[in-house]
Subunit: 108 residues, 2 copies
């Protein structure tokens, strides 16, 4: 299992489930690039390396968007080797704000 190779998330802060705030999640999702990241993660139903996203922004802008999503509690990021991987925190979001993520993904 690839998860076994994961390095501890030493430098990456993630809010605990009960620290996830509605305002922060809504704000994180209110950007088209970040929505696109979330949609790709939801479609993939799997973890994805940041580099696998084909985003029309610079690397540093992309890193910023992933950080906003992580700090809001929308995604979890961790390292596998030198790749930073991301996955949606679907269960945590569903527990905190039921139906929100699916409503966002279902819109338009």
């Amino acid at each position: 299992m690839s998860r076994n190779k994961a390095v501890p998330e030493r430098r990456l802060h993630h809010p605990d489930r009960d620290e996830i705030r509605l305002e922060s999640v809504l704000s994180a999702l209110s950007d088209p690039i970040r929505l696109r990241i979330v949609r790709e993660l939801a479609r993939g139903h799997d973890d994805m390396a940041c580099i696998a996203f084909d985003l029309p922004v610079s690397k540093s802008t992309s890193t910023h968007h992933f950080r906003v999503l992580r700090e809001a509690g929308v995604i979890r990021q961790y390292y596998e080797g030198t790749s930073r991987m991301s996955r949606l925190r679907e269960d945590d979001l569903e527990a905190r704000m039921p139906g929100l993520l699916s409503a966002v993904l279902g819109a338009e």
Copy 2:
């Protein structure tokens, strides 16, 4: 019916239903004061004058928040005499992004 007394919305721009954008709605809802306004409107199930909201902000800040909600398509504003009234655009939001408003209102 009080609606008969409504003055045309001459100065207040409202996006049409199909102009309502997910990112704008999420952004509008990502502020605690604006969430509070939306919750009060949802609880009231009725139109409310802006002055009826007891918000911990200045009048101009309050006006700003109502404008952000209106321009995003979350609320409709109109005049009755000299009172600016607001109501949630529940049907429009439900048509454009089903389940989103209720998920936001149900969170926390």
